[in-house]
């Protein structure tokens, strides 16, 4: 048996009281694609960050090609031939792709046009060798997400990495782009590189990897050859029990139309058309899922429905009444709740306590204030009640919410949005970054809302979540809905194709 190119032994990393990595052993060989599988928060990114020098391990040792390696910084890692493609790209947006790739290179202080031309040629040749295509001379902010990822990969190759780590590489890609990426990984494997990929998607792992290591709650559970396992076993290892997809079927059929959006046209921040001819409908007592790859107008759709963004053309009809202009207050008052994409950025005020955070949307009502003065005592007891009802674990009511765990933050946010008994709930990636238990809790709340007759518009990138919860699934692409299917007829592959913008006819033509 050949020597492993990467060997990690007994790696421990603690963040405060949380042990993110608990005595983890891991090894990977040159010329293989090794998948590190685990749920969000299982610790796979932490372990890989220690291999690439972003974090330093508290205990344990790392061997590269059989030699003990001291990796204290990303620079050390780069020198030792370890390169990592992060989930959030480490690219300077204002610099060109080529500038990003040569960044940090010490050679040649003076960089005239000849030097730049040579570098462009060199980078293009390298990119072509691995089947990666992108414009080298354009600023990164003008590139698509897929192209940016390619820049990242070429960056690691350019710096001579022979151990390449990709952190959740497909989370931002369309199924088609993902296929292309896997082809590139095969080329890298042929070239004798060690390719490590972290992911939580079992299908991809089965399709692309040679060996699989499974992590759960900071511990390494098993390492298996891909050929000798199946999805069911992987799922069991990942979650620790057989996964049972519980779907509460709705009791009653959907009621009358609650929200009708027709031919909506919305311009995004830099004058680009974000929504173009968007039409959809949400009825009372139904969960409508919106599937799509990030950046196809989901953010703008949520913002326009909750009054945060104005629209150019088209109509929004809520409860039979046309909405005249964008107003957050109007949306709140008419009973639209919003669970925004990034809870700490836009959903909660981290420095403030639970009471202030719960009051966000109701402080204007006569229940909570009179003549401009807040009813302090009443608001406190009301908050206490909500915190208990929604099982938010917080040391005190006044503890800044940034000190709560992600799951408890999300519960608090849901407590606020659900307690108002909304007619329509717009939830964007509501389970992002949550563990299984917390995610299940969120799912239950959404189904409860449906059973009380509210409509739910669930915008998510997690196809499993959508398939599990939605009564109808819509696929958003380039700012409009290009496909729809009800729960009974939903087909994973079909939706995947639609997400890439390939419509039925074209798909069958191929």
């Amino acid at each position: 048996m050949q020597d492993p190119s990467v060997e990690m032994r007994g790696i421990v990393k603690k963040f405060g009281s949380v042990t993110a990595s608990d005595q983890v052993d891991f090894s990977a060989n040159a010329g293989e694609i090794h998948a590190l599988l685990g749920e969000n928060g299982a610790g796979k990114s932490t372990v890989m960050s220690m291999l690439s020098g972003v974090y330093r391990a508290d205990e344990g040792e790392i061997l590269l090609h059989g030699q003990p390696a001291k990796i204290r910084s990303p620079k050390d890692a780069a020198v030792l031939g370890v390169g990592m493609v992060f989930q959030n790209f480490r690219l300077v947006q204002s610099l060109t792709a080529a500038e990003n790739i040569v960044l940090g290179e010490k050679s040649s202080f003076w960089r005239g046009s000849k030097w730049i031309k040579n570098k462009h040629r060199e980078i293009e040749a390298l990119a072509e060798q691995f089947g990666l295509k992108f414009p080298v001379d354009r600023p990164v902010w003008q590139l698509s997400v897929g192209e940016q990822q390619r820049v990242e990969i070429v960056k690691t190759l350019y710096r001579g990495a022979d151990i390449i780590i990709l952190d959740e590489p497909t989370s931002v890609l369309t199924p088609g782009e993902a296929e292309q990426l896997f082809a590139t990984l095969q080329v890298m494997k042929q070239a004798g590189k060690t390719v490590i990929m972290t992911t939580h998607k079992m299908k991809e792992v089965m399709a692309s990897s040679d060996r699989i290591s499974v992590m759960r709650k900071g511990k390494m559970i098993a390492t298996l050859a891909t050929a000798g396992t199946d999805e069911l076993e992987l799922a069991r290892l990942m979650v620790g029990r057989e996964v049972e997809i519980t779907r509460q079927e709705r009791e009653a059929a959907a009621g009358k139309p609650l929200l009708v959006v027709s031919n909506l046209e919305v311009t995004a921040d830099h004058g680009r058309k974000a929504l173009d001819g968007m039409s959809l409908q949400v009825c009372e007592g139904e969960i409508v899922g919106v599937a799509g790859v990030a950046g196809n107008g989901q953010k703008e759709l949520a913002e326009v429905l909750t009054g945060l963004r104005t629209w150019k053309n088209g109509d929004i009809i809520f409860e039979g009444e046309p909405v005249k202009s964008a107003s957050v207050r109007g949306a709140i008052d008419s009973g639209i709740s919003h669970v925004p994409e990034n809870r700490m950025k836009s959903g909660l005020a981290g420095r403030l306590g639970s009471v202030d955070n719960l009051l966000f949307k109701s402080y204007r009502s006569s229940d909570h204030s009179r003549f401009g003065f807040l009813k302090a005592a009443k608001n406190r007891s009301w908050s206490q009640e909500l915190v208990e009802r929604f099982n938010v674990k917080t040391p005190e009511l006044d503890t800044p919410v940034q000190q709560l765990s992600g799951g408890n933050q999300q519960k608090l946010l849901f407590a606020r949005e659900v307690s108002r008994q909304p007619k329509l709930m717009v939830a964007v990636h509501p389970t992002q970054g949550l563990d299984v238990g917390a995610a299940a809790g969120v799912h239950e709340l959404l189904m409860e809302l449906r059973s009380t007759g509210s409509g739910v518009l669930l915008i998510s990138e997690d196809l499993d979540e959508l398939l599990q919860l939605s009564d109808r699934i819509l696929v958003i692409y380039n700012g409009s809905i290009i496909g729809e299917s009800d729960h009974e007829h939903a087909d994973r592959e079909q939706i995947g194709l639609l997400m890439a913008g390939i419509r039925n006819k074209e798909a069958s033509a191929i």
């Binding site: 963040f15 480490r90 300077v92 610099l95 040569v102 960044l103 050679s107 202080f109 960089r111």
Partner: protein, 309 residues
């Protein structure tokens, strides 16, 4: 000489301190650090120059002293903002307050004493013969020439060298720069120090070329105008040149108009640079409302390497 030529000469003379201070500001902000201490630093540069020049009668020594003093103050700002991650706005305000207080205190003893000389003029005999151009370039002093050279050097440094690439990366995304092995703190420290030294030099130029004695608060808000000019110039040294001279022209326009026998009270003419600064910034804000402004992305936010979330 006609009015326009005179105005151009005056614009360059009044614009040079603004240019130096703006270049200093560009260096700071390109590295992602707000420097609101320009006013105080210019005053400190001016008072140091005056004291040392009067005592030693050595101009070079005086300029070096001004650079040294303001560089040390820059190190204080760097320590607060880079190492301690303090609020950059507040640190800059403290710099301005401290600088104006200390300069007034130190300058009390030399207030009103004329300097032994001014900045030496570079005599370019062959240029002098050319009309207009000769009038302007034939009589510029060495600091003005230096500032012109500096514009070119900084422009090439930022856009044509590896150091400039690193600087731009640090200003836009220090985390990325760090991962790529660039020493973020070192670049920030050096840019802050060099930038504040330039602001000190700007103060020195003000007393040498403009008002050859020390007066309390003689910069009269020019440091703040320079802060605005950094935005006006969109963090670009070449643009800074034109912006600074434009404001230099505005600055001296009031005086020139008065000489022509204008009926407008001089106080209103003196308001022009301040009011125009606001109006120009408003115009830029209006014009750029829908596009990225070119502001270094990390401006004002301290960089912390290992963050959990």
């Amino acid at each position: 000489m006609d009015f326009t030529t005179q105005l151009l000469i005056a614009a360059i003379s009044a614009g040079t301190p603004l240019l130096l201070a703006t270049l200093g500001g560009i260096l700071n902000e390109r590295a992602g650090i707000i420097q609101l201490g320009a006013e105080g630093l210019m005053l400190m540069g001016a008072v140091t120059t005056c004291i040392v020049y009067i005592r030693s009668e050595n101009l070079l020594l005086a300029l070096l002293a001004a650079i040294a003093v303001t560089a040390v103050l820059g190190l204080v700002h760097a320590f607060l903002c880079v190492t301690l991650r303090a609020n950059q706005t507040m640190s800059g305000l403290a710099m301005t307050l401290f600088g104006s207080g200390l300069s007034a205190y130190l300058g009390k003893s030399i207030s009103g004493i004329p300097l032994p000389g001014t900045s030496p003029k570079l005599d370019l005999g062959w240029v002098k013969g050319i009309p207009v151009v000769g009038d302007i370039f034939g009589r510029m002093d060495s600091l003005t020439w230096f500032s012109l050279l500096l514009v070119l050097v900084l422009h090439l440094l930022i856009h044509r060298t590896s150091w400039g690439l690193h600087l731009r990366a640090v200003g836009d995304s220090p985390a990325t720069a760090d991962v790529m092995g660039i020493r973020v703190q070192l670049i920030r420290y050096s840019c802050i120090t060099a930038g504040t030294a330039l602001m000190g030099l700007a103060g020195a130029d003000m007393v040498l070329a403009y008002a050859p004695t020390w007066n309390e608060g003689l910069t009269a808000g020019r440091g703040w105008i320079a802060v605005g000019l950094v935005i006006f110039a969109r963090w670009n040294p070449l643009r800074a040149l034109f912006c600074a001279y434009f404001f230099g022209a505005l600055d001296s326009l009031g005086f020139r108009i008065q000489l022509l026998g204008s009926v407008v009270p001089p106080y209103f003419l003196k308001m022009i640079p301040y009011v125009v600064t606001i109006l120009v910034l408003m115009y830029l804000g209006y014009r750029n409302r829908n596009k990225p402004s070119g502001t270094p992305e990390s401006l004002g936010t301290p960089y912390i390497r290992e963050q959990r979330f």
